[in-house]
Amino acid sequence: MAMNSRTQFPIGGADRTGGANRKKTRKKVVFSIKILTLSALTLYFVFPVAFMLLRSVMTEAEASSVPVAFFPQGFNYQSYVKIFREDYWLYTLNTLKIALINIVTMVFTASLSAYGFARIKFKGRGPLFAVMLATLMLPAAVSQIPLYVLYARFGWIDTHYPFIIPKMFGGGAINIFLIIQFMRSVPKELDEAAEIDGAGVFRRYVQITMPLCVPILIYITVNIFNGAWGDFNTPKVFLQTKSKFTLAMGIYYQSFLGGYQMAFSNLRMAAGVFMTVIPAILFFVFQKRLVEGINIGAVKG
C-alpha cells in the first residue's frame, strides 16, 4: 500500500519538484527493510541444511548430550567413516545401478512415445494419450499388491527387477507429457523436410528431433535420477535382504530396524548429507535447464 501514492500521479511532474530526494531515501529505507526481512527468511530456510551439515560432523558424545549444541566443537569426520563401514558403499552402488539403468531406458522409451504422439498422426493417438494421462491419478498403492503377487511369480521379490523392468515400458506419463510439451516449440518443418528427403521415421526421431529436445531430456534425466535415488516406497515393498538395499531403504533400516548403528543423530545426518550430495551437484550444474523444465511442465502446461 505504501506505493499507492506514487501510482496516483502516474504522469505528473512530482518527481522533478523536490519530492525526488525524499522519495529516494524512502525507497532506500523500504529496500533495506526488504533485504533485512529476506535475510531473516533465508536464514530460516538455510537452517535445516546447516543443521544437517553441522550435526554430521559431531562426535557421538556431542550428538547425544543434553542439550545438544547447534555448533559442533570441532570438525569430526568419524561419522562419515562409520556409515561406510555399515555397507553404505553397497547401498550406493545398488542405487546408482538402478538410477543409471532407469535413465537410459526411461529417456529412450519416453522420448520414443513422445515423438509418436507429437509427430506421427496415427489412429488411436488421442485415446491412448488420454489413457496415459489418466494413469497420473492412479495411486501407486492400487497396483502395488497385484504387482507384488505377479513379481513373486516371476521370482522378482528381493531383486532389483521391480525397479528396472517396469520402467522400460513407457518411461513415465509425466516424462512423456513434458517432452511432448517441449516438442511443441521445436519446428515441425525440419521433420517434414527430412521426410520429403526420404528419411525414415526412426531416423527423423534420432537425428532431427531428439537433438533439439536435449534441454528437456536433461530435465527429465535429472528428475529420473532423483526419483530413483530417493524412492522409498518401492524398496520398502520389494526388498528384504540388506545387501540389496538402496540408499533410502538403507537409511530407513539403519535408523529404525537395524537399531543401534544409526541411533546417533550425527550418523543419520552424515548419511543424509551423503545422500544429498549428488542431487545437489545435479541441481547446481543444471540449474538453468531445471528452471526451464519446470517452466515447461508446470507453468505453460
Partner: protein, 314 residues
C-alpha cells in the same frame, strides 16, 4: 464433367495416401509399443486384478477365497476398523488440504519480493530453494531430528525465545501440525513456480494497467493471479494427487508407521501395513480401491471447477 476430370488424380492420390497412411499407422504403433505394453502389463492388469482381489480373502500365499463385498463391509461396519479407516483418511485429507493450498499461498509471498532484479536476488532464491534439493527421505529424518523433544534443536530455540517446550512429533495433538510446518521448508519449490509464472506474463500488461491507474493490489488481482492460474491449477492437481499418497511419513514414525496414537497414520501406509505386515491383501486391495475412487473424485472435482483457469489465447 468436373467430377470425372478430377477423379483419376484424386483416386491416385488417395491410394498413395493410403499406403503412406498405413505406414504411418504402423510407425505410430511401433513408437507407442513400449507404452502400450507397459499400460497393459503394469497398469491395466494390476488395476483389474486389484479390483478382483478386493473381493477375495487373500493372504498372498495359500488362502484365496471369494469373499463377496465382505472386505468393504468390514471396512465400514467393524467398529475398530471404521475408526481406523476414518482416521487414516481424515489424516490424509487434513495433510492434503492444509499443506497443498498453504504452500501455494505462502510461496507466493516468498516469490513476490524476489521477482525484482537487485543485487544478490539470485543468492536469496538459491538459498531459499536449498531445502528442496534434499531427498524427501532425508528431509523426513532431518525433521525428526530437528523436532526431537529432548535432543532436537527446535526446543532449544523455543526455550531461548521463552516459549514453552513443544511436543512436536511425539504427541498426537501436535504431530500433524509439526509435519505440515516441516513441509513448509520446501516452499522454495513453489517459489520457483511462481517466479516462472511471473516471468511469462508480458510486461506490457502491467504498463497499460499502470497508465490506466490500477494500483498494485488491483494489478495483482487483475493480471498476476489470472495469468498464473494454469500454473496454480497444474500444481494443485499434481500436489493433491501426490500428497494423498504420502508414504515417506514412515521415515518419521518408524516401526508401524502410525505415529503417536495414529496421528501420523496415512492411508497409503495403512494399505502397506495391511498388505505386507498383516498379509490381508484382499482387504488392502479394497482399501486401495477406495483411495483410487477418492483421488479420482478429487481430480474430477478440481477439473470440473476449473473455470477460473485462464489459458490465454487457446
Amino acid at each position: 464433367m468436373n467430377i470425372e476430370l478430377c477423379a483419376p488424380p484424386a483416386r491416385e492420390a488417395k491410394r498413395r495416401r493410403l499406403t503412406r497412411g498405413a505406414r504411418r499407422q504402423l510407425a505410430g504403433i511401433l513408437f507407442e509399443l513400449p507404452l502400450i505394453l507397459g499400460l497393459i502389463i503394469f497398469t491395466a492388469y494390476p488395476v483389474a486384478e486389484s479390483l478382483r482381489l478386493s473381493l477375495y480373502r487373500y493372504n498372498g500365499f495359500d488362502t484365496n477365497v471369494f469373499n463377496g463385498f465382505n472386505n468393504f463391509k468390514y471396512m465400514f461396519a467393524n467398529e475398530s476398523q471404521v475408526k481406523e479407516v476414518l482416521r487414516v483418511f481424515g489424516n490424509t485429507f487434513i495433510y492434503c488440504f492444509v499443506s497443498v493450498p498453504l504452500s501455494l499461498f505462502l510461496s507466493y509471498f516468498l516469490a513476490m519480493p524476489l521477482n525484482k532484479n537487485f543485487k544478490g536476488v539470485g543468492v536469496f532464491r538459491l538459498l531459499i530453494y536449498l531445502p528442496v534439493i534434499i531427498p524427501s527421505v532425508v528431509s523426513a529424518l532431518l525433521y525428526k531430528d530437528i523436532f526431537d523433544v529432548t535432543y532436537g534443536v527446535m526446543n532449544q530455540i523455543f526455550g531461548g525465545l521463552g516459549l514453552p517446550q513443544g511436543t512436536f512429533f511425539s504427541h498426537r495433538s501436535t504431530a500433524m501440525a509439526t509435519l505440515i510446518w516441516a513441509g513448509m521448508w520446501n516452499l522454495g519449490g513453489g517459489m520457483i513456480l511462481w517466479l516462472s509464472a511471473f516471468k511469462n506474463i508480458p510486461a506490457s500488461l502491467y504498463e497499460s494497467a499502470k497508465i490506466d491507474g490500477a494500483n498494485p493490489l488491483r494489478r495483482t488481482l487483475a493480471i498476476t493471479l489470472p495469468m498464473s492460474t494454469p500454473m496454480i491449477f497444474y500444481n494443485l492437481v499434481m500436489n493433491l494427487i501426490n500428497s494423498m499418497q504420502i508414504f515417506n511419513s514412515m521415515m518419521i514414525t518408524g516401526g508401524d508407521g502410525e505415529g503417536p496414537e495414529q496421528s501420523l497414520y496415512f492411508i497409503a501406509v495403512k494399505i502397506y501395513n495391511e498388505a505386507f505386515q498383516f498379509f490381508r491383501m484382499g482387504y488392502a486391495a479394497a482399501l486401495s480401491w477406495i483411495l483410487f475412487l477418492v483421488v479420482g473424485l478429487l481430480t474430477v472435482v478440481v477439473f470440473a471447477t476449473s473455470k477460473w483457469v485462464f489459458y490465454g489465447d487457446e
